[in-house]
């Protein structure tokens, strides 16, 4: 009995269930990342390379590269007839894994894989050191992320737009005006829309950091093509100016 393959097929089955039931990410990720990067290749390699013909390290290499190749080529073939949705991926990868495992598990002649039957006492100490190294490396990534956020927080600006409503490609006589604050703190804005000197709309706004404000308004079509002008002031000072000729 190949206990390793029994475990692999059980993991593939669990991953399939997690994918089909749309389990939360914290559960899906640890089950389904191996389903893409490890399990199919491991099961297929078990069929292609009998125990004792290759070592564990080499088997590990084949498990990953075969998994990657199977996913790449399988996706290529499947997408000809089906869309590559989550369920399709899960059934394909789990199916390959379980089928490849079962081929060996039902074969009475298959011999067990050589695995370490005793491990030196030093391994837990070494593992602890590696875990510690991983923790320090994770700390480095977290520190880099914090550093990036701190640096970007110093860059303050506001997005301001004026576009035909429903997207710039829409054929409509409505216009949409909006702004999103990246100022890092609450800011006061005043917005004025005019056409040919006539005030169409006026707004006083207070936006928190990251907040977005958007409004649509109707404008009459002007055959002369006079633009609608939007002027944004921030803290009382002119800040941005946009102009758009409404589509006819």
């Amino acid at each position: 009995m190949r206990r390793d393959l029994a475990l692999v097929s059980a993991l593939a089955f669990l991953a399939l269930i997690a994918a089909l039931l749309s389990a939360p990410v914290w559960l899906r990720a640890p089950l389904l990342v191996p389903l893409v990067l490890l399990l199919p290749g491991y099961a297929v390699a078990a069929n292609l390379f009998a125990p004792k013909t290759i070592g564990i390290t080499e088997r590990g290499v084949y498990a990953v590269v075969l998994s990657i190749a199977i996913t790449a080529v399988g996706g290529l073939v499947i997408q000809v007839v089906l869309g590559l949705e989550r369920e399709v991926w899960a059934i394909f990868l789990a199916g390959i894994t379980i089928y490849a495992c079962l081929r060996i598990l039902v074969d009475k002649r298959s011999s067990p894989l050589s695995v370490p039957s005793s491990i030196s006492w030093k391994i837990p100490v070494a593992a602890l050191a590696f875990v510690l190294a991983g923790a320090v490396a994770t700390l480095a990534v977290i520190s880099a992320g914090d550093g990036l956020r701190d640096a970007q927080a110093k860059i303050r600006f506001t997005d301001f737009w004026l576009i035909p409503d429903g997207g710039a490609g829409a054929e409509t006589d409505n216009l949409s005006v909006g702004l999103r604050s990246h100022e890092g703190e609450p800011r006061r804005y005043s917005l004025e829309l005019t056409r040919d000197g006539e005030v169409l709309s006026q707004e006083d706004l207070l936006l928190r950091a990251g907040e977005k404000w958007e409004k649509s308004f109707a404008v009459s079509v002007d055959p002369a093509g006079v633009p609608v002008v939007a002027v944004l002031s921030r803290e009382g000072a002119p800040y941005r100016r946009l102009d758009v000729v409404p589509p006819p």
């Binding site: 990067l37 070592g55 075969l66 996706g75 989550r86 030196s120 480095a140 990534v141 880099a144 710039a168």
Partner: protein, 664 residues
């Protein structure tokens, strides 16, 4: 010599030699095999490498805030990762498992340098283009969608499919999925390379040393660590070579794997490699072809015919039996890969491959011609497009690293010729190392730098091998003290080559993150550009055609789902729209006849010359020759053009709607 003696693999019992300590021990106490893994100093050195990574993160944070000392802290962190591991691997006392662990630690720590450089999102050209490919897949459920950023990605969709599967199944973001995928690929590459080089030299110590030198290649820090198809394909290619070597009987201590298994494995990996990356597949074909040729040259026709000739086993009337009669080796591996690559080229990827690789090679050859016979296209080493020149010490280190390799390679090749003349794989790796000088010449030109950079990841496998053979020869018959001294010297020289590789491989501007710079790839990816891309994704029609500078084009072409346009129309280079102070006939022709929907202006471009030598496109007028920045008035001119609407403004970046121009 000790390294020439047969030894076991890292995953099996090695034969004692002074260079490669015996580590796993077999025991018959139980029915299975009892192994003892001795990882020696690897855990401690992993901690040191992690500390080095932390130091680099701190240095990068300081660089972002333009604090003094950030650059020296960065180098200190890099050397803290590299030197202790190199010293241990050059030494004699480590066992095979420890060496294997150390090369994985080294590879992962260097990958970590890329991660802490861009910890929250993609900043490199290929990464953003790859993101667009994955987004296309997640949106449509199908591969082969057009990728407006890099056309080749749509016809080499292997990495896109794998990342799409990871993202879709796990629920992780594309960015996190990509980090996991490329991290796993890096670990596998290091392990596979170790096994390949160990079997080629029949020594775990040689393999460790070879990888210490391999890690000096200029691409390892950023280019091969990015979310790009080459980073993934390298791992598949290494796995492929491992199967071929097993077929060729290079690990004779183990029972031979079945031919059917090896052929099926090669078939799966052939397909995986061919649909993932052109250059990696072509490089593998070239190497296996070279190896086949060396077998012919060194051993004569008979051994090669044996590799090609079916074995006598099996019933020839059945397919499986036919396959079982094949002999797996470099000739079969080369033939399978070449046939698959040819079919893929002819029926799927020919046009895109020619467009991508053809232009790179044509430009490089043209630049080399100009280099030899005079003319434009040459470049001054260590000088950025802004005119900024690296300090003297950096230039000396960069050149000294090349000098060390120029000395080591011929000596190592000579050593291989003396001791490994019948080892066809060793001869082939030596031949690869000899390509090094030829890969340096294109670096003297603007257009050839990319080829030189890309070649390094393949050539350094050969260089590492010859350097390891040379070093082991030098230390084989010396005493303990002298061997330690030699290991220390070699560690110093390897450190020099490593530093030189980083200097040559990455411009000083992009080596670390920092404030916004014009035309400087990762340094030009700004929050304002990202905000404009998110606005575009939310409000502008998908795949609208835009004129935009390079870095913002990456953001708008990926996160913004738009289509940046480059090149020329009716003989007019499209960037000309931005350069003149007047909106004249040429600008109008480009916008109307190239069906441009939006023009995106980054007003910061007027602040300085582009670091990479161009603002919009490598082919733009005055690329690499510009002496003054683009005029601010040239970027402001769109405000006064009838028919152009100013629809978005976030300060530096303004988007103009140009679709009414055609109606006028």
């Amino acid at each position: 010599m000790s390294f020439a003696q047969p030894t076991r693999g890292a995953d099996s019992t090695p034969v004692t030699s002074r260079g490669a300590a015996v580590v796993p021990r077999r025991s018959s106490r139980r029915s299975g095999t009892a192994w003892r893994y001795q990882l020696g100093a690897a855990p401690l050195l992993a901690l040191l490498a992690a500390a080095g990574l932390l130091l680099i993160a701190v240095a990068n944070n300081a660089a972002r805030l333009e604090e003094a000392g950030s650059e020296s802290t960065f180098w200190l962190g890099l050397l803290l990762i590299y030197l202790p591991i190199a010293w241990r691997l050059f030494g004699r006392s480590a066992g095979a498992p420890e060496r294997l662990a150390l090369v994985v630690v080294l590879g992962m720590a260097l990958y970590g340098v890329k991660v802490v450089h861009s910890p929250a999102g993609f900043t490199l050209h290929d990464e953003l283009a790859s993101w667009r490919g994955v987004w296309n897949l997640l949106e449509s459920g199908h591969l082969f969608s057009d990728n407006p950023l890099v056309g080749g990605y749509s016809v080499f969709p292997g990495m896109t499919a794998v990342t799409g599967a990871l993202t879709d199944l796990s629920g992780l973001s594309v960015f996190v999925s990509a980090l996991v995928l490329i991290g796993v690929a890096r670990a596998v590459l290091m392990i596979a390379l170790f096994l390949i080089l160990q079997r080629a030299a029949r020594s775990a110590r040689a393999a460790g040393i070879a990888i210490v030198v391999y890690a000096c290649n200029p691409s390892i820090l950023y280019f091969d660590s990015q979310f790009g198809y080459e980073s993934l394909a390298l791992a598949i290619a290494a796995g492929y070579l491992l199967v071929v070597m097993r077929g060729a009987g290079i690990d004779p201590r183990r029972r031979r794997a079945g031919e059917i298994g090896m052929v099926v494995a090669l078939s799966i990996l052939t397909a995986g490699l061919v649909v993932t990356h052109h250059l990696s597949a072509y490089a593998m074909i070239a190497f296996l072809g070279l190896w086949t040729g060396v077998i012919w040259f060194v051993k004569g026709q008979q051994p090669l015919l044996q590799l090609l000739r079916p074995t006598a086993r099996g019933n020839p009337n059945r397919l499986m039996a036919q396959i079982a009669r094949l002999r797996v080796g470099p000739a079969l591996g080369c033939a399978m890969l070449a046939a698959a690559a040819l079919l893929w080229f002819v029926f799927v990827a020919g046009g895109a491959t020619q467009d991508e690789l053809g232009s790179v090679f044509t430009e490089a050859i043209s630049a080399l011609f100009h280099l030899v016979f005079g003319g434009s296209g040459t470049k001054t080493l260590f000088k950025a497009g802004t005119g900024q020149v690296d300090p003297l010490v950096v230039r000396v280190l960069g050149l000294a690293s090349v000098g060390v390799l120029a000395l080591v390679i011929p000596l190592g090749v000579w050593r291989i010729w003396k001791s490994y003349r019948r080892n066809t794989l060793a001869i082939s790796l030596a031949a690869v190392a000899l390509l090094y000088p030829f890969t340096l010449v294109p670096r003297l030109t603007q257009a050839g730098s990319e080829i030189s950079q890309r070649a390094s990841e393949f050539v350094f496998a050969g260089i590492g091998f010859v350097a390891a053979v040379l070093f082991l020869h030098l230390t084989d018959s010396v005493g303990h003290t002298r061997a330690r001294l030699l290991a220390l010297t070699a560690t110093g020289l390897a450190g020099l080559v490593f530093v030189g590789g980083v200097i040559l491989g990455e411009s000083p501007v992009t080596r670390q993150p920092g404030r916004f710079e014009v035309g400087a790839e990762s340094r030009s990816i700004s929050p304002q550009g990202t905000a404009a891309a998110h606005f575009a994704a939310e409000h502008l029609p998908r795949n609208s055609r835009i004129l935009v500078d390079g870095p913002n084009g990456l953001l708008l072409g990926s996160y913004g789902h738009l289509e940046p346009v480059i090149g020329s129309i009716r003989g007019i280079p499209v960037p000309i729209v931005f350069f003149s102070k007047e909106f004249g006939f040429n600008a109008r022709t480009v916008i109307v006849h190239d069906a441009i929907d939006y023009v995106v202006v980054d007003r910061r471009l007027a602040h300085s010359l582009p670091v990479d030598g161009y603002y919009y496109d490598r082919e733009e007028p005055l690329a690499h020759e510009r002496e003054r920045p683009i005029a601010a008035a040239a970027l402001r001119k769109f405000d006064a053009v009838p028919g152009i609407d100013r629809i978005y403004d976030n300060g530096p970046i303004v988007i103009y709607d140009t679709r009414r121009i055609e109606q006028r």
